[in-house]
Point group: C2
Chain length 216, copies 2
């Protein structure tokens, strides 16, 4: 038996990691079987997901997974740059040793996984691990900013960003560039150089501003 929160998190996970196709219809009456609960419970979860942008809802027409869109990815990337730059700058000012330690740890973990992906032929088993480690690194970057509001907003935007890329990011052609960029961000942050950190976050995300990342 699944609890209400399980339904929400399970759906959220699928919506951000290739569990549904873009544009797919999400019928409560169908999903209820998987979760062994009523349609209303699923419906409620879908509603909540709709207000954080991971599901589209239309009156009398049900729920759908948002379509892929180059414009949307550009906007989400822009928001990420805005929020992460600001959050990282604030963390540099307020974070102290504890934050630096957490950031170093998060980078160490991410870096290890990225190197394994870079080395191996078949990286399919490492995808989920990379997604969560990449998320953790970027989350840690802003974790000492002192604003719950900024962190919550970032988490909403990040999930939508991930959803747009759930198909595209699976080939890891970008991985060697990424390894360097993550290290560069870490260095700038540890050097407490706000301007440089902002620049490097911006550079890191720049490849999503070309409108090319969604092409298959």
């Amino acid at each position: 038996m699944h609890t209400k929160i399980d339904i929400y998190s399970e759906l959220r996970k699928r919506l951000t990691s290739n569990g549904f196709d873009h544009g797919a219809k999400l019928r409560a009456e169908v999903l209820r079987d998987e979760f062994k609960c009523s349609a209303s419970a699923v419906r409620e979860a879908l509603f909540r997901l709709a207000t954080v942008g991971l599901v589209n809802f239309q009156e009398q027409r049900g729920f759908r997974v948002p379509q892929r869109s180059g414009q949307k990815l550009i906007e989400l990337t822009h928001m990420r740059v805005l929020l992460e730059s600001e959050g990282a700058a604030m963390s540099i000012r307020n974070g102290g040793i504890a934050w630096e330690a957490r950031l170093t740890a998060a980078h160490h973990k991410l870096s290890h996984i990225e190197k394994r992906i870079h080395a191996s032929e078949d990286s399919s088993g490492l995808i989920d691990l990379w997604f969560s480690s990449e998320h953790e690194f970027h989350q840690t970057l802003i974790s000492a900013c002192g604003s719950e509001t900024l962190k919550q907003t970032h988490s909403v935007i990040y999930a939508q960003f991930r959803q747009q890329l759930m198909k595209a990011d699976r080939k890891f052609n970008f991985i060697s560039e990424n390894i360097r960029q993550h290290a560069d961000i870490l260095d700038a942050a540890l050097a407490a150089d706000e301007i440089l950190t902002r620049e490097r976050i911006s550079d890191h995300l720049a490849r999503h501003l070309t409108g090319k990342t969604l092409e298959d």
Copy 2:
């Protein structure tokens, strides 16, 4: 008879304009009478409001209006500065004549109301008008930024900001300072001076960063 969207918007309006006390309990079984509908319909609306931060929800403990909090107001103000500065700068670059015209119009309307409030003894009849005009001016400021995502995020943050202030802003002690600040923002925006516009938006909102605006 009320439709579902009416329930949502009516509750949203009350939650941002002194319709409920801070911390008040929101019982679906009670509110159903006002809307002449089932508790489930109200419950659904409350859920949706919870995910945009206008209502707090706790499992098995129902819904509440968020408490006032100096820290939260500071964070929301900071987010407004971040989003409005960026949105205004982008609008300056992309907006063109049409945007300038809309901004001038919005300012004209707001300015007219602010002067009436400044002059009159009893401004209570003008409160709602001022709220909506002030909102419209700030919304217009970022309206040509080209990013739906930024505009939607701003609208969520703005609503929460307004909710924090729904009691406090009713005395209008700040109004004469505000008249000048809005005019200054308009001037800088029309002069296409991005840096100055950013500064003036920041100055305009600065009084909410002191933690004093919530005191009665």
